[in-house]
Homo-oligomer: 365 residues x 4
């Protein structure tokens, strides 16, 4: 569908005098599908990022309630593919995008349900706030999902989910759907309608091969685009965070700042981020900790894993509880305060910026 | 500004039955700023890229005529910053973007004019179809602009232009403004209102230091984000293209395909693309050559430098002449046919895709 | 000390006729410190590597007995620095080098002894065949040494050892001393005469920060030259090897070849080898397994960790038992056969070859 | 051939008391092919590099005279392969190695002679002090050799030379033969006995494809291990050096230090060194310039291309003239003084050190 071009004269320094001749020129621009820089430069080239996306908090209890109701009304199967409900940033015109680049959704699977198999170039992960009983089957490898686990479905891997339990399960999905959509790199392919392996192993084959600290199989020694670790288990994440705080208490380095431990989920074949477009981390704030106020180019999403506290994003401030999801747009300052201990999962589009040398960050006083 | 969310029930396989309960659920989504995947998946996750941008050709003579008229009516100075008129892809809702990621504009400078100094994180280049007499001054280094030259202004370098001659000059600007705008990484800073060095050297200092084949200064041996070569001169580009066709005529490899020579402008400190987000190339088709039909993920812009021929982009076909500019959206097949010899400049957003491992290309039968 | 040059006439195809004039020419070469290629090319440029080093096996019981006796006669302290006894390859002219590039030694520490603190550019590791009670203190971080552990001392870190126990302890040291010596890159610096931290933590601080699968501290996100993991614990290595064999038994990939599991110790910040010059791995052969016969450019050292079997290196074959050390020179074919289960530690200089694009390997029929 | 091990008791701090028991221990070491660290540490682990190689200067006139005489007495053909005469460092026991890692030789070809075709994994280059008339044919591509040219024969390319002229020609060969020999990575293969293409093009095909500043063929966009530029022509090198000195005279950066211009020959596909083990550079000192005194880990060889001056290497100082070759061992300080203008070619093993993170350099006061 072809869009009409509209060139609007504006006033201000450096602008041409409004005359009939100028108006005629602007109509000529429109006819030839042209738009002058001088009327648009303020919006296009601001002094610093002015994201359309807005800071916002979604409440887990509300998400969960609507997801449960969807479980009653909405089937999971071919066509709709997933019972996933996306967080739509209020600044983005109604698009189902939590930030301009990132997708966040609550996904819900009823007891004994399967989500059908497909694959797509978008990179995906799951993060589990609560519950268990679902296995996500990635390229034929069943991966158990349990509270605190961070699970990967890198681009172009066939995957489906199955719930073998008697209880429903909900979790957070994160993807780069908006970014892929924007740059026009999306491919999608259907697999079988049902998951073909309903087994329920405690550990995936990917973990058995790859989730050993500092060890890799000699049979597989090339770097891979995304991490081969299908599941980062909570027990490891929790231990690493506890170790950092304990080291700090003993006077040793390791934490990000006083009272603030953090680990990044990484690709063991490169040491870099788990997937080319998504960074994922877990943060732990000791009781009473207030983080430095920090902003960075690129957008992020935080989900409270445990504890309570408050987040300040730009001019807005919210108390947060388990499961609440916070959108942090590009270059908007963020401060987090823990009441008691506060654990937070975070994902962000930073790898896009780092790989394109467009990253910037600063601590504000 | 906060956007209202609107969830529309759709029909089709995998969709829930439309009932009042479903309607109530969807209203609940809207209240909580949520959008289900199952109603949106067709648009968001198509089988292959379905870009909003459309193939289009802008005629150089029309661009030039409007630019000249702008030269009479529109000042160049602080505020508007540049007398640049952007090509607005008819599929992109009136935005001044030639493709979703790329900016292309004709810029015009009257005799004895200066364009004021500023810098921005967006990466920019100039390509000169015709004329001379302007120097672009990049971080204090005056760079002559002449027909066939490809000139760089990588991100965050102060730059202005000055026309010391008695004739106006027009050229093509290429930038990653749309991509920077989308990802929210834009910084901008004013420099002096006038260029402070009006000298007119034949070669820039950057060329004297860097534009020697296979040689680099021992004083500067780290890789740089963007190429340090300020100007890629036509005499070198022309010679390299002629050499490729001559090698092919002698039976040796080098050309892209029979009758089709091509060189990529590269960063001599890495061998990679000149800037993190932009690839630039010059192509030469021998008389009568028809290229293979090829498509790739990511968008490109071609400008005819010399000769005549025709381009077929998807279902559209256009004859093209010197200076005409063609937009090629992501994954749309492109074929070019040369009448006599045909030289074309090309720029594309491919580095974004390659660095994020999202590149794909194919030759169609 | 200046060496005299001696040019010897040789016979064979392409050689000049021996005449008094030729003799005079060769004497002229000697006076001017010259040697012709044509008399040396056979030795210098053979069709394939002809290493001076020889295959050899050292028996752990013999090493241990001599180390114990050294414990009675030889002090550990400033000057001698370490009670380490190096394996001297019988082909290398009496130099204390297990291969041309690698150093292997048995090191021995008596109860309550300290080895003094120093640092050097040579990269070092320890591998523990048996025993415990020693802590190696690397840049102030005490690292427990226990059977099966692989411990790192990358170049230029201050380190000493202390034995807090009532029993002596012996282990295998591996370094790149011969390579460093050859290329002339050696720096060495003394630290305190005694270790200043005699604490005996179960886990080092480095492990607490880094030895979590796929996780890294957000406070430290740059790649490091060598691995920050101070100790790769046997429990993890053992589990990874067991997992590989179990996966194979279930029909899944992961092992190097049937019955042969292997893990490589890696730098979690890069996914590459633990140190720039040294590769280290642990191999497990199921009972009765015979490996393929393989050779590769570069030299390796194997130590039996557990079990019995036999190794064939070139034309030589030896039965091997716990602790025995095998030198495998460049390009010499190696086959290993397990009696019962057989666990082997391996280290090699392969990173040197890979980083210089000089690596080659082949499986022989 | 098996070497006997000899363990010699030494005196000094940290050494054991000399007793019959110690003597018996040392004899036990010898029987088991062991050598203690404590008697060897002084030699093996000095405070800073103590290379066996010595500073030395070879006089071009002497080299040339002996090469001419070899032209009369020594054939060039299968078996001897090349009429190349290597510089043998006086500290290296008579081996034909200019430094522990590098080979330098004068090669000489009579009128109408061919040097037969072969290939080897060793990396090679030619540098031409004077003369012309020889073409080196690399993988079938004839490359003219002329004064000032730097020509590459990366590892494993078939190559021969032919002299189509009526005058003999001599040049400098540089290779990594000693390093390859030491690490045991040498492969060698014969090609045809005579060069099969005796054509004499002014530019090689490799240059036509690759020697354009900042341009690469779109048909070949992967990084290559070694540079694809077969010849770096003097006209480009000379212009780049002249530009640096002119920039400095105008007050702009670019030179290494006042009066000292230098360019590095690089691989245009990476921006790095031309070959994995060899760095090559051209230096120009303005009349009267004295360089800073500098030392670096790794060894280098300099050849005077034009002019006169003096070199100080460690404690030795020599006046030097056109063609003279200077060996600079690892970590030995070097100062160069130009009488009139002085142009010098330099090659070094630095890439080995940089790729293994073992590089160090310092300016001495």
């Amino acid at each position: 569908m072809t869009s009409a071009i509209s060139v609007k004269a504006v006033d201000g320094p450096g602008q041409p005098v409004r005359t009939p001749a100028l108006d005629e020129l602007y109509r000529g621009f429109e006819r030839e599908l042209l738009v002058p820089l001088w009327t648009e430069i303020g919006d296009l080239m601001p002094d610093s990022p002015r994201p359309a996306a807005l800071p916002h908090v979604w409440r887990w209890q509300n998400l969960l309630e609507l997801a449960r109701r969807s479980g009653e009304l909405v089937p999971v199967g071919r066509g709709g593919e997933r019972r996933a409900i996306a967080l739509a940033n209020p600044g983005l015109g109604g698009a189902p995008f939590v930030t301009p680049t990132l997708w966040a959704a609550i996904q819900y699977l009823n007891p004994r349900e399967d989500a059908p198999v497909h694959r797509h170039t978008q990179h995906a992960f799951r993060f589990v706030i609560e519950g268990e009983g679902v296995w996500t089957v990635v390229d034929g490898d069943p991966v158990a999902m349990r509270r605190g686990d961070f699970l990967l479905t890198p681009g172009w891997r066939f995957h489906g989910h199955h719930n073998r339990s008697d209880t429903p399960m909900a979790w957070l999905d994160g993807l780069d759907i908006p970014f892929s959509h924007y740059i026009g790199s999306t491919f999608f392919e259907l697999g079988p309608d049902a998951v073909d392996d309903h087994s329920t192993p405690g550990r995936s084959r990917a973990e058995r091969l790859w989730a050993h600290p500092g060890l890799r199989p000699v049979s597989q020694t090339s770097p891979t685009t995304s991490s081969p670790i299908a599941a980062y288990r909570w027990e490891h994440t929790d231990a690493a965070l506890a170790d950092q705080l304990a080291l700090a208490a003993e006077g040793h380095p390791g934490v990000v700042e006083p009272g603030h431990a953090a680990v990044r989920f990484t690709n063991p074949t490169t040491g870099g981020d788990v997937m080319p477009t998504i960074r994922a981390e877990m943060h732990r704030l000791a009781a009473g900790t207030r983080t430095a106020t920090r902003r960075e180019v690129g957008s992020a999403v935080w989900q409270v894993f445990d504890g309570t506290g408050s987040v300040r994003v730009g001019d807005r401030e919210w108390p947060v509880h388990r499961g609440d999801v916070v959108a942090v747009p590009s270059w908007v300052p963020l401060t987090i305060v823990a009441d008691g201990g506060l654990d937070l999962f975070r994902f962000a589009d930073t790898p896009i910026f780092e790989r394109l040398h467009a990253d910037r960050a600063e601590i504000l006083p």
